[in-house]
């Protein structure tokens, strides 16, 4: 009798269906006020590298959805939530002011609409993330503290539909004290040394992979993401 090992055709094998996977939404809220103009090229390159990196990860690419909101004196959704494969790197505009409160508000609207869609179609999803990138002092008619307070409250909500993670990154000239005030102690704001967007997007890429390679009910995720930021050489806690 032939041994089993000589009969490779007998091995277990099978083709799986193309199912949709649990989704994890990351909303990037990017300050594009005039002071960011010198960094814009690096920002776009960082985004490109992030997209390419996540696309190459078979798990992350099927789970990570990204949305991009830019703000100066106008707020624009530059990329509606979509899987990384379908995402196109937007062209950013710049403006004189830094309407951070409105930017965050719009980001939360984008997030809520998407979460509503997940829930309406009963799709499993991870707690969504909002990542703020700014280099300046917020101004504009709305109080950023008030908006941030709402987000902080939702970070600690026991209702799954309200839950959100928020992280702030400050680059050259950012008001880190303010970012500290609007951040949850669990996710303190990080200062990105030398406006190193490349490091920032490397961290983002790594974090999205940590999340997508976990399961939606993993409670240790927030801690892991917070620690991954603290461990980055180009970031520092600075208040």
């Amino acid at each position: 009798m032939q041994s089993y090992k000589e009969e490779p055709w007998q091995d277990f094998s099978g083709e799986s269906a193309k199912n949709l996977h649990a989704k994890c939404l990351w909303v990037l809220v990017i300050d594009t006020s005039i002071s960011m103009e010198p960094h814009m090229q690096e920002l776009v390159e960082g985004l490109r590298a992030f997209k390419a990196d996540v696309e190459n990860d078979p798990v992350a690419s099927e789970r990570i959805e990204v949305a991009i909101v830019e703000f100066h004196e106008k707020v624009k959704v530059r990329c509606a939530p979509k899987l990384i494969d379908d995402m196109t790197i937007p062209e950013f505009s710049t403006g004189a002011y830094t309407f951070m409160a409105q930017g965050l508000e719009r980001a939360m609207q984008v997030l809520d609409t998407r979460v509503e869609w997940y829930r309406g179609s009963a799709q499993p999803y991870y707690v969504p993330f909002v990542v703020l990138i700014t280099d300046g002092e917020p101004n504009g008619p709305k109080d950023v503290h008030k908006v941030a307070m709402g987000i902080k409250k939702r970070m600690n909500s026991s209702k799954r539909s309200e839950q959100v993670m928020f992280m702030a990154f400050g680059v050259d000239g950012a008001n880190m004290e303010l970012l500290e005030e609007i951040s949850d102690p669990m996710f303190p704001p990080m200062y990105v040394r030398n406006a190193n967007f490349s490091s920032l997007f490397q961290w983002l890429s790594m974090s999205t992979k940590i999340v997508s390679h976990s399961t939606p009910d993993d409670l240790s995720l927030p801690q892991m993401i917070a620690e991954s930021a603290t461990d980055q050489e180009d970031f520092q806690r600075n208040v």
Binding site: S13, N19, L20
Partner: protein, 284 residues
Amino acid sequence: MNFQPDWIVASSSILGNSHAAVNKPCQDAYWHLNMGHGWGVAVVSDGAGSYAYSHYGSRFTARDAAHHFRNEVYKQGWMKNASLPEEKEWKVCAQKTLFAVRGRLEGFAQQHELSFAHLGCTIIVVIYSPLGLLVTHIGDGRAGYSADGKQWEPMMIPYQGESPGSTVFITLDIWELSVCDRFIESRVIKGPVQAFCLLSDGCEDAAFECWRADKDGLVKDNNTPQPLFLDPNVEALRKMHAEGLTPDQINARWTQFLEGGNSVLKNEPDDKTMILSTKTFRDV
């Protein structure tokens, strides 16, 4: 020569990539008891990801349930009388037996000074026989069967909680008579069955067609066993048996396959458990 149908079974639990990365144990468990004469009990249990001790819960629950459902088969005389219960009778028996499993799990928690809630786990029980299948479950996971060896059907509907991806566990307060039926599904599948499978949710993307978008972009759970996945494995199982591989050898192959037999299995972050069984004939 008298031929009695019997079953070949492949079963395994694999630690998921996400748990391996943070040194968490496998929270899935399974148990299988072959009772002979074509009867047996197969159980899969998946510990709640957010509870620290759910791996103890799933292991205890799978083993305890397998033994007590086997006892029920004897006690109720189903095997002796070569008969399967009607739906109503099975539902009552299944709920009572699961409730008793829950009671012993609570005892286990007290004995080891563990929080009972932290032992939370799902459970799927399949009693197989020459006459058909009895299935009961709490929570999610999937189970399916093929009556004619060609077409596959689901044999349970995974419980989806209010929040997508959430489910219920044996430890929760789901036992009031008024709500029990909502959380504990029990079914009798009468007639010959050629093959069946039961699996934790970590294997569902591989073995089932689940979340799909229809032509209008609406997403829904099709809950359909995937023949392109299951049929070749049933075939392989039969051939391995015919070749004389021992159950241990078959399970070793099955373990290897579940670890990374295709890209979906390889990339799955969650723990993976699957029992696949097919009928064969042997002389007795």
